[in-house]
């Protein structure tokens, strides 16, 4: 043997920094079998799985995760097709008392299943690809929003979707905004304008007004607040500026959540390769990353470092926050809200599963209750059932509605005028199941904190 054939890497990792994924970066396949060591089969994950609760055919997260991984061998790669029934709500992660990387196992298994076992010529594959690449669809659609909205509402489109694509016709497609968030942002003057406003706000608050402020955030708006609910994005910008934060809006693509759920890890990685460098550059400039969608913040925080080996992925993960969470930690939100009022005092709040996984399920009610007269009702611990693209698939529609039933009942029983949640697809389900109009907590916050000014001029369905 020549020395040339010897490994050149002299670094010997100590046992302390052992991580199963990083120990052999040269390997392209992930081996999560050691993750099964943490499972002692208590089945708490199974009892918390909303899909298993309503679908007897679904074997549950314990089987999908540690059991299936433990049964694998090197040349023995078939993944049971039931993994496609997992809705990726990730409640199992939250339920597990023993730190089994369940959703990572599910995501990886699903990716493997789609890549190796699902026919690339099947309609299911292309339907899933279409759904998980919502941004591409939305990007095109929002160029001519009125036409698209008209087309999507047509009976013939819905019949085509149902019969050919197996996208349920029970649901109405969310309308595209006539002006996207980014269009609004650019027209408003982008970062330069935000810096001005933030500086003025800081001055009014008696804080530092120099350029060397650490009050800077990079807003990850995601696809839905850009194309469908720009009022959420606008609310975030205004609330943060109110507290003196300069808002940057880096270039970005989908966070990847719908892609993991459909096993399209390649698509997710391509998007991540745009997002991570853009967000890492903003962090370099002193910004923290803020998302208004809890699935987006979840993805940047948890799935990115679990699934992708991209430079800067850990910096992004460590510096990403959810919109309300960041303000709770860094500002005196309660003090600020004292004595404020809102026109929307009666709210039925649903905590999205992905918010729960980040420990954020209690914050919206706690924060908003500080506003005078607000009655925010928590509608319980159940999952809304839609889980992103899951409930859009014709074959999952009934399961999705069955899972959501408990939430619907609690919403009906709540004495409220509006629904409230952070998650775009939970809001679709809440609206679909109950008829409520659904708001984002940041919209209520903006309504309470900001009087007049720009808020009044906001277009569309916002709480103005």
């Amino acid at each position: 043997m020549s020395d040339a054939a010897q490994p050149t890497d002299e670094h010997v990792p100590t046992d302390d920094d052992f991580e199963p994924i990083e120990v052999f970066p040269e390997s392209t396949e992930m081996d999560l079998r050691p993750g099964a060591d943490n499972c002692y089969k208590c089945s708490t994950c199974d009892t918390n799985c909303p899909v298993a609760e309503v679908d007897d055919e679904f074997p549950g997260p314990k089987f999908q995760g540690p059991e299936q991984w433990r049964l694998k061998r090197q040349d023995d790669h078939d993944i049971d097709d039931s993994v496609m029934k997992c809705s990726n709500c990730m409640r199992c992660d939250h339920a597990c008392p023993s730190e089994v990387p369940l959703s990572q196992m599910h995501n990886t298994a699903r990716g493997e299943y789609v890549e190796k076992q699902m026919s690339k010529r099947s309609l299911e594959y292309w339907r899933n690809r279409l759904l998980s690449n919502y941004r591409t669809m939305a990007h095109l659609g929002s160029k001519v929003p009125r036409l698209t909205n008209f087309m999507m509402g047509l009976g013939v489109t819905r019949v085509f979707n149902e019969k050919v694509l197996k996208i349920t016709s029970e649901r109405e497609f969310p309308a595209f905004a006539t002006e996207t968030f980014r269009e609004w942002w650019d027209a408003r003057g982008g970062y330069a304008t935000s810096r001005e406003r933030a500086r003025a706000a800081r001055e009014a608050r008696g804080e530092k007004t120099t350029a060397e402020t650490d009050k800077r955030i990079a807003y990850f708006h995601g696809c839905y607040s850009n194309y469908n609910t720009p009022e959420v994005g606008k609310a975030l910008v205004r609330v943060y500026e109110h507290f003196g934060y300069e808002v940057m809006v880096p270039d970005q693509r989908c966070s990847g959540t719908p892609m993991y759920a459909n096993g399209m890890l390649g698509d997710a990685e391509r998007a991540a390769k745009t997002n991570v460098p853009e967000l890492a550059a903003a962090i370099e400039e002193g910004a923290d990353v803020i998302a208004s969608c809890t699935s987006c913040s979840m993805s940047l925080r948890q799935e990115y470092p679990e699934l992708f080996d991209i430079d800067g992925v850990h910096e992004v993960s460590n510096n990403t926050w959810e919109g309300l969470e960041y303000l709770r930690v860094h500002e005196d939100l309660k003090g600020e809200l004292e004595g404020t009022t809102t026109d929307l005092p009666n709210l039925a709040y649903h905590a999205p599963c992905h918010a729960r996984n980040q420990g954020l399920d209690g914050q919206a009610i706690e924060v908003l209750s500080a506003i005078d007269g607000v009655e925010a009702h928590d509608v319980g611990d159940s999952c809304s059932g839609i889980s992103g693209t899951y409930g859009w698939k014709a074959e999952n529609y009934d399961t999705s509605m069955k899972i959501g039933e408990e939430m619907f009942e609690h919403m009906e029983a709540a004495d409220a005028t509006h629904g409230l949640t952070e998650c775009p697809t939970c809001s679709m389900q809440m609206e679909h199941g109950t008829g409520y109009d659904i708001l984002h907590p940041l919209e209520i916050l903006a309504d309470a904190l900001l009087d007049g000014g720009e808020t009044q001029s906001s277009s569309g369905t916002g709480p103005a």
């Binding site: 490994p7 046992d15 120990v23 089969k41 159940s382």
Partner: protein, 580 residues
Amino acid sequence: MATDTEVLVLGGGSTGCGIARDLAMRGLEVTLVERGNLTHGTTGRMHGLLHSGGRYAVSDQASARECIQEVDVLQDIAGHCIEMTGGLFVQRPEDSDEYFQKKLTGCRECDIPARVLSGAEARRIEPYLAKDVKRAIQVPDGAVDPFRLCVANAHDAERHGARIETHAEVVDLLREGDDIYGVTVRHDSGPGKRTHKTPGTTEDITADYVVNATGAWAGQIGAMADLEVAVRPSKGVMTIMNVRQVDTVINRCRPKGDADIIVPHETTAILGTTDEEVEDPDDYPEEQWEVDLMIATLAELVPILKEARTIRSFWGVRPLYEPPGTGTEDPTDITRDFFLLDHAERDGVGGMTSIVGGKLTTSRLMAEKISDHICDKLGHSASCDTADVPLPGSENLEALEDAMDEFGLRSPVARRSTQRLGSRSREVLQTTDPNPVICNCESVTRAEVQDAIAQSGSDLNAVRIRTRASMGNCQGGFCCQLLANELHPEYDEETARAAYDELFQERWKGERHALWGEQLSQAMLKYALHATTYNADGDPARTGTDVNFEAFDGGQTDTEAGPSGVVATDGGPRNRGGDQ
């Protein structure tokens, strides 16, 4: 009560079962007796390494050649018992270059295909190898399931007319003058398939010829007829990991030593082993430091082992033997070859031969040689077919892959089941009855459990070795009671309870050596389930005490149930009642 047979084989391990199959196929009338389950002795307590011969290529080239030949044979006749994983002899920087070279030369001299890999190449095959391994020799090692191999041999022997009696302990050798003519056995529960709680009986079995294939226990059998068989039992510890950290057999490439093998075995990896002579093969200390030392040593090759979860440890006893006067001090130096001791030639006592030494990989060849000897003794002429006729389960394995979809099982379950059952899959798994998974850790379905019960009676440990049920990470925590339940209604409640207890005890025997980290949590959960939830400790059906039903109240009635309404599965709505 006495029965007669042509050949009586003592010992239901790999040697005994192999001999029984061989002789039965040659047309002799064979009876085999075993004091426990099949594989109860050494065969069921080994690491399951199918040797390419690489391990013996320096020290014992005759054995090495036999190994590589038998690996070929076993692939043909026992495909469902083995997994050709390939093997690596891994050299660390501190290991001798000279020995590495000797190993390579030795492999080539013995016709064992061997290829040198750089450290990086070895790690590409096994990513969890230590970053600083220097190089490796790749050889065709594999993994063998000793239970399945042994059971298949016994099963085939029965198909050829043999009588196999488990739980039948030899209590005396029948000797008249210079002739041994049979044994007295004590049946734990009457002859035939085991049924717990059936009263035991004794039986004299007379035979034209007796084969003592009791391995480490051969000395004890010999002593019953005042014959000295100087077996030197040597214990070795093995530890079972929860998952396969490696998919290839890993050997340390150095002259000899403890703790130098990792064998990927089914869903687990088995670490082995140590070598220490003991007095009594039934009574020797099992000490934690042996396990700790082995994990620490093997972690030099595969560092992740230090943090990984072990599910149990067990000790086996090698039946080492050396001819009188050799005087080897260190048991690792004693040859692994087998010895055929014809007591007529050796001691002037006819009618019996003792077999000692040997190893699982070459057990078929060993059985062939011994059977030749016995046929010679009996003047029976028939040729040996065991190298050509597949074992039950290993016929037409190629057709199996296509059949998996037919069983209506989830794909990992179907895959594991068919790997265990081989060509018997269709016969066992094709059922119109509901076929739920009974053991989730190892994916064993009811149909497979019922098949095993049909073979072995109420003995759940016999079901275990046939199916792997209860051999996964929960060690029976979630399936012991389900397995016992499968015995009903054919067996009554009392029998099922006794079988459950016995399986539970057997699992605990190995689990108690793995009580730290996650496996401790597992054991506590198992305790909570069985002792608390199932009340296994204080079950009145077990203790015989009467239950005072008067002490219980009538339970909640509708009128007491509080405010009416549907109680939600999440523990009730937080939004009702106005108090936020």
